[in-house]
Amino acid sequence: MSQARSLSPVATLGREARASYAFVERNWNLTKRYWGWEIAFLIYSAASSMSIMFIGKAQGDQDTQLLLFLAIGTLVWSYLNSVFMNMAEMIAWERWEGTIEYTMMAPINRLTHMVGQSIFAIIYGIIRSALLLGVLAMFFDINLRGANLVGALLTIVIGSLSFIGFGIIGAVLPLLFPEKGEQMTFIISSILLLVSGVYYPIDVLPGWMQALSTISPATYVLDAMRAAILDGTGTIDLLPKMLPLLVIGLITVPLGMAVFGYFERYAKRTGRLKRSG
């Protein structure tokens, strides 16, 4: 029996970090090459966000709190949905390009793959949301005086974790259903949008939807973000709101990895791990 050459933990970490960077660099290159798509998506997002903001503005010119409530909703959702979709589409995208077999055949840990994908998803989401904020700031009075921006940033970082977990679980769908899996991920994101209080308070929802909102990480992200920005709540006081987020993240990321690993093996048993459907 042959023996694997053993690397020191530092060397192993360095090797995995380089492999993770491969995904960041690749996705960045893809974003640059598909710049036309990026502009189209940004215009679509900006127009959607502005429509929501104009609905708020129509409720009364002086209600800046409502505008800020909606701005937080649309920006946070834009970010979280971007993180989710970046993760959930990673298999569908590679299948579309025809590269899935090469990536799955490469000698990298699946965790390394996911870490690289997550790092890019977060960077991409932040840049996209910052651009969106810039667009909204040109048209609406978004007053951030008194806001706890450090607390808001911490909330978004912790919130990203759980959306990465949901995204990994979502990525299983294109693995299992080559032709319709990508579309099925939209169901997850649309339900999260519906029940999480992105544009309205949770208490206007029917009881059963309110129950669903308790397991959506977006509910807690938005709650903490609004407390930090609208009310200026201190970071320490935000911690109880962040705790459920942390718990959901610590559950969904390992759960997502386990689910992905299980279905990757299933795809290999059934011959679904290939470029075409």
Binding site: M1, S2, N29, E97, E101, M105, P107, T270
Partner: protein, 314 residues
């Protein structure tokens, strides 16, 4: 005029890739000094193919799943440093076999080892030792050859300042002009894309290279380049090559031994001469070509299609 005695020509030594790239294999898993490169013992694979339902969400008892036996109890060994060919018609199971070796499929039964590493139990070590070039070049179409190859090299743990110059050198050696290296790959011909695929495989320093119909659809010049490259990889870089092909001339020119597959079964295995001898003795053909051998042993042409084999459709 008296007949001219020709001096035997020296073997061609020009490298297809133009330079003598040294492959760094220090990061590869240790492999034993002796023993075969690939051992396949009783490998079988069956795919179930669902029949389309007449009504949504309703499965009726008269719609059983159709089973396709893609591989049926295959056993073979590929020796180190060998160029081993697999010949078979579409759907014969040859691509399924390649996908099993390359860890993209899990066998239903049997055992497959690569340099002593089991493809299931030691998946990561096997992945590090192999690479594959398939019939489709399989790249990110909008990315350039440079961007695609950088991605591949980083996935295989390659690092350092000289990655870009290494990529430029190997692509230049394969006849790809400098101004194409940073242009989107989709603007290149299929032959050029396949050369980039070969460069990708080479740059990840595989000990076992799996070539799944790498020259299908290429022009004669590109075919020759690929064939020279295969010989070079074996002769100068100590690699073992497994190649699936439709092309009898290519198989005869390249392969030390050939396995003939039909309907998921291994029909015959041997050198080209051994296979021809088999048919000479069995069927009384005086000087059979490899195509005659294939037809005699399988009862069909290479261009015939078998029943649908889901894994062969890739």
């Amino acid at each position: 005029m008296s007949p001219q005695v020709l001096e035997p020509q020296a073997p061609e030594t020009t490298s297809v890739i133009g330079i003598d790239l040294s492959i760094d294999r220090s990061m590869l898993p240790t492999i034993a000094e002796h023993g075969p490169a690939v051992v396949i013992r009783h490998a079988s694979k069956v795919f179930s193919k669902k029949k389309r339902r007449t009504l949504p969400f309703r499965r009726t008892p008269e719609e059983p799943q159709k089973a396709v036996r893609a591989l049926d109890d295959i056993s073979l060994e590929v020796q180190r440093n060998e160029i081993f060919g697999i010949l078979g018609a579409n759907g014969s199971g040859k691509s399924t076999l390649i996908r099993l070796i390359s860890t993209l499929l899990i066998p239903d039964s049997g055992e497959i080892t690569v340099f002593g590493y089991d493809v299931q139990a030691n998946e990561m070590q096997v992945k590090r030792l192999i690479n594959r070039v398939s019939v489709e070049a399989s790249f990110f179409k909008k990315l350039s050859p440079m961007e695609n190859l950088l991605y591949a090299m980083r996935l295989y743990g390659r690092t350092g300042e000289d990655l870009r110059s290494e990529i430029t050198t190997i692509l230049g050696g394969l006849g790809i002009k400098a101004d194409r290296i940073n242009a989107p790959l989709e603007q290149m011909s299929r032959g050029m894309q396949q050369k980039v695929a070969i460069a990708r495989a080479f740059l990840t320093s595989p000990v076992l290279l799996l070539l799944d119909e790498p020259t299908t659809g290429l022009d004669p010049r590109s075919k020759k380049d690929v064939q020279k490259f295969v010989h070079e990889l074996r002769d100068r870089h100590d690699a073992t090559i497994v190649i699936c092909s439709h092309d009898m001339d290519e198989a005869e020119a390249l392969c030390d031994r050939i396995a003939i597959m039909d309907d998921g079964q291994l029909i015959a295995i041997g050198t080209v001469e051994e296979l021809k001898q088999l048919v000479r003795e069995r069927d009384g053909l005086a000087s059979p070509s490899l195509e005659d051998v294939f037809i005699a042993l399988t009862g069909r042409n290479l261009t015939d299609d078998h029943e649908d084999n889901p894994a062969e459709a890739a």
